[in-house]
């Protein structure tokens, strides 16, 4: 680099020379640093001639300019200058330097560069710039807009459609969705499967169409829409020659709002009004649906009725014969029953859809008053997605098989490293979220969806989990195909499709590893690869939000499969109608395992010692080393309590530490999770300790109690069980119990069982 000229004559500094001289007194030599002077020179030069600055920087690019702290600012100024005065070639040369110096430049610079290329008709260069931006910031709306214009210029229809989809993903507002919808009307249709969708409504629901269009495009459909004129659904349906029938729809969505059929609904209707209205409305809808079914081959989807106001009866609503909430629910039930008798008519649970959105968010009163728009911008995308649950099976887009990864997907952690005991899967978190995800997957199999495994693992590590892990909900028999090996997942998935004799486009792939997902997306675009969230507690929700598993009817085969699982369903559906408390406890079918603690529950024990507050007699916060010591000690006994009932396996929920002292045993700690409080299992726990002490020939059992801010629910625990207070120094009580007269018993409704952990040994 040319050695910058260091000023030796302070006159050059003009009017600031005195000030500079003063500063130099405090910081001698600072102004002699060439780096500051260089910075000054470069700034001046940039303002004068950005091209020359670029030239110099390029010439000296090997020079280490890192000490020049103003370099990022300088590059930013320079790039803007070049955009204004220079050529895109020069801008791009500067970007190369900026990348080498690791100086980030804002997205708008790149977009301005792309636009400059477009002006020079250098479309490929423009595309490259935009794609680089999007690879770093996929949601850069501006870049997508320019990319869209580019695709239009080059008449690349497929790409234009795809970019519009990306644009909506980046900003799903009504204005973007509407923009995309309008643009598509100018584009030649994409090559997707056509589907004709008709919308009939008693209120303005036109804004649903752009969202619905987007949902269709995403799955490769080429939709056409027909929207009947405002509030003319009856005429359209009853007139044989209406535009509706000329359109020849595959699906008709009939959305009628209750206040349009029954205006008194928003007032104070009497029981008589309600009874009459219910009959009228049901009759009216059934009549319309039958006409529709007769005159067209379309699938008819009717939305149910939603009450968007509070009941005029307030909290008394459900006590009154004219209850509006109950009436609405009954009306919907009657309607569901009526439509269920028609093969091609379905009731869309709009109430449920809006509950998911939140009613407060789902309505926008202003839009309703101004434009008869009953549903807000927040409700429309959710409704459009729900509509797809009918469109997809209609167009044969229902997925038949779910291909699942194992580690990190069906359970937490890597089984090959942690072993079956170490993975997160069980009734306490972390582990509970995976069990729940598995439950949702099992539910899908009952609907006739197949499951398959595709996992990079050693079979000998995985099979014991599938066969014996206590908390696996999905077992080997639930999987139609398994590929547990170290090969490429795309190859494995292809084999699974062949083995099950279904098309790749019937498969859905779920994997927590983004790299595997990307690979499958690229190699097998026909397979639907689900974007799984990083947080496993969102897995179940993500799965259930998919609209790819819907059936329009249940076939004979499905019914047989469902029958096999029926027994389990019945057990869960059994409602508890116990007459007395004892009956209630019996009906719970409580099963309890009390045993000396095993080393593998160490972490759970430490967790309980440090988390349990309410049912904790001494609140001693033992750490891992403490608990390990007790486990090894010959004068201490550590117990664990495991509880399951008719509905849930709670797992290890309690522990006790007992110290063995000559003729007496002392209960150092006794605690239990609040999840099982009130189930009387603590009686069984204490009874077992008494029995063991008696068997050991001990006469006296001591119980300690240390009051805390939170453990008052158990302050009378020893008293209630016949212990007598031996000493109390205010903060520490010792209770005493003569074992010879022991009356502590396991309640008769509790079944004590042995542990038969499959993965035990």
């Amino acid at each position: 680099m040319t050695q910058p000229r260091v000023p030796d004559d302070s006159a050059e500094m003009g009017e600031w020379s005195e000030l500079i001289a003063e500063i130099e007194q405090d910081y001698p030599g600072n102004s002699r640093e060439p780096i500051r002077y260089l910075s000054f020179l470069l700034e001046s030069l940039t303002a004068q001639s950005p091209e020359r600055t670029l030239q110099l920087l390029q010439k000296h690019q090997q020079t280490d300019l890192r000490p020049l702290r103003s370099l990022p600012a300088l590059v930013n100024t320079l790039v803007r200058q070049l955009l204004a005065k220079g050529t895109p070639y020069q801008v791009e040369e500067l970007l190369v330097l900026a990348t080498a110096w690791q100086i980030p430049l804002p997205v708008e610079i790149h977009i301005a560069l792309a636009k400059a290329w477009i002006q020079l008709s250098e479309l490929n260069r423009a595309r490259t710039v935009l794609q680089q931006v999007l690879s770093k910031t996929p949601a850069a709306s501006e870049a997508l807009h320019v990319l869209y214009e580019l695709a239009m210029m080059e008449k690349r229809t497929t790409e234009a459609h795809a970019v519009l989809n990306q644009l909506i993903e980046a900003d799903p507002s009504l204005s973007t969705v509407a923009f995309a919808y309008k643009e598509r009307s100018k584009l030649p249709s994409n090559s997707g499967q056509p589907v004709r969708l008709a919308l009939l409504s008693s209120y303005v629901l036109d804004q649903l169409i752009p969202y619905w269009d987007f949902e269709c495009r995403k799955v490769g459909l080429a939709p056409e829409f027909y929207v009947a004129p405002f509030n003319q659904y009856t005429q359209e349906i009853l007139n044989q020659n209406s535009a509706l029938y000329n359109f020849n729809p595959h699906l008709v969505f009939l959305a009628i709002s209750i206040e349009d059929l029954f205006p008194e609904f928003t007032g104070y209707p009497s029981s008589e009004d309600l009874n009459k209205a219910k009959e009228d409305i049901t009759g009216n809808i059934l009549h319309l649906v039958k006409e529709l079914l007769q005159r067209s081959s379309a699938l008819v989807v009717v939305s149910d009725f939603v009450s968007m106001h509070h009941s005029p009866h307030g909290i008394l609503d459900n006590r009154l014969p004219q209850s509006l909430l109950r009436w609405t629910a009954e009306l919907n039930k009657t309607l569901a029953d009526t439509l269920a008798a028609q093969e091609r008519a379905f009731l869309l649970p709009l109430t449920e859809v809006l509950n998911w959105v939140g009613k407060t968010k789902a309505k926008n009163p202003k839009m309703d008053y101004m434009a008869s728009m009953r549903l807000s911008e927040a409700a429309l995308p959710e409704l459009a997605r729900y509509c797809m649950r009918y469109v997809k099976p209609l167009k044969g887009l229902t997925k038949k098989c779910l291909v699942l990864d194992l580690d990190g997907t069906l359970w937490g952690g890597i089984v090959g490293e942690l072993g079956p005991e170490g993975i997160h899967l069980g009734p306490t978190a972390p582990g509970k979220e995976y069990m729940d995800f598995q439950r949702a997957l099992l539910n899908l199999t009952r609907r006739g969806i197949l499951l398959a495994i595709c996992s990079k693992n050693n079979p000998e590590d995985v099979l014991p989990v599938l066969r014996e892990h206590k908390y696996m909900i999905l077992r080997e028999e639930h999987f139609g195909a398994m590929r547990i090996n170290w090969r490429n997942k795309a190859e494995n998935i292809k084999e699974i499709a062949e083995e099950l004799n279904i098309g790749l486009d019937s498969l859905l792939f779920i994997d927590d590893n983004p790299n595997e997902r990307e690979l499958v997306r690229q190699v097998l675009p026909e397979v639907l690869t689900v974007e799984l969230p990083r947080d496993p507690s969102r897995y179940r929700m993500t799965l259930e939000n998919l609209s790819d598993f819907e059936l329009l009817a249940i076939t004979k085969e499905d019914e047989m499969r469902i029958a096999q699982y029926g027994a389990i369903g019945k057990r869960h559906a059994m409602r508890n109608t116990a007459a007395s408390l004892d009956d209630y406890f019996y009906s719970l079918a409580l099963r309890v395992i009390i045993e000396p603690a095993k080393p593998e529950v160490l972490n759970r024990l430490v967790q309980m010692f440090n988390k349990t507050n309410q049912f904790n007699l001494t609140t001693r916060r033992y750490q891992t080393t403490d608990v390990e010591r007790f486990l090894k000690s010959s004068i201490s006994r550590v117990y664990t309590l495991e509880v399951s009932d008719r509905f849930v396996d709670h797992g290890v929920v309690g522990t006790a530490i007992v110290h063995v002292e000559r003729n007496q045993w002392r209960i150092d700690s006794l605690l239990m999770s609040c999840r099982v409080m009130g189930l009387t299992v603590e009686q069984a726990f204490l009874a077992r300790i008494c029995e063991d002490a008696l068997d050991a020939g001990v006469t006296t059992l001591l119980g300690e109690f240390i009051p805390s801010k939170k453990n008052h629910p158990v302050k009378d625990f020893y008293c209630q069980n016949g212990f007598t207070l031996q000493s109390d120094d205010g903060g520490h009580q010792i209770w005493e119990y003569e074992l010879a007269s022991s009356k502590v018993k396991t309640p008769p409704w509790i079944t004590l069982t042995e542990n038969k952990l499959g993965h035990d040994r």
């Binding site: 807009h145 507002s173 204005s175 509407a178 923009f179 202003k366 434009a371 728009m373 911008e377």
Partner: protein, 74 residues
């Protein structure tokens, strides 16, 4: 975000092309549906709830700014 930027975003036009006199007559996309989308966007951006009479007044950018001022938007 300025009113111009927001109007530009809603109607997909360059904010630099907008002025106080840009109105429903000069912007093609600003039809009745577009107007509703604009009101919704304004309410969300500036965290206000605009009355229907005010919403109907907002026929050009100057009027939008005037009304927003009355709602305490600076």
């Amino acid at each position: 975000m300025t009113v111009e930027e927001l109007v530009g975003k809603v109607f997909k036009i360059n904010p630099e092309e907008l002025s106080d006199t840009s109105s429903r007559n000069t912007i093609e996309q600003w039809d009745s549906m577009g107007h509703l989308a604009l009101i919704t966007a304004l309410e969300e951006q500036f965290q206000v709830s605009i009355s229907i009479t005010d919403a109907m007044e907002m026929a050009n950018i100057r009027k939008i700014k005037d009304v927003l001022k009355e709602y305490g938007v600076r």
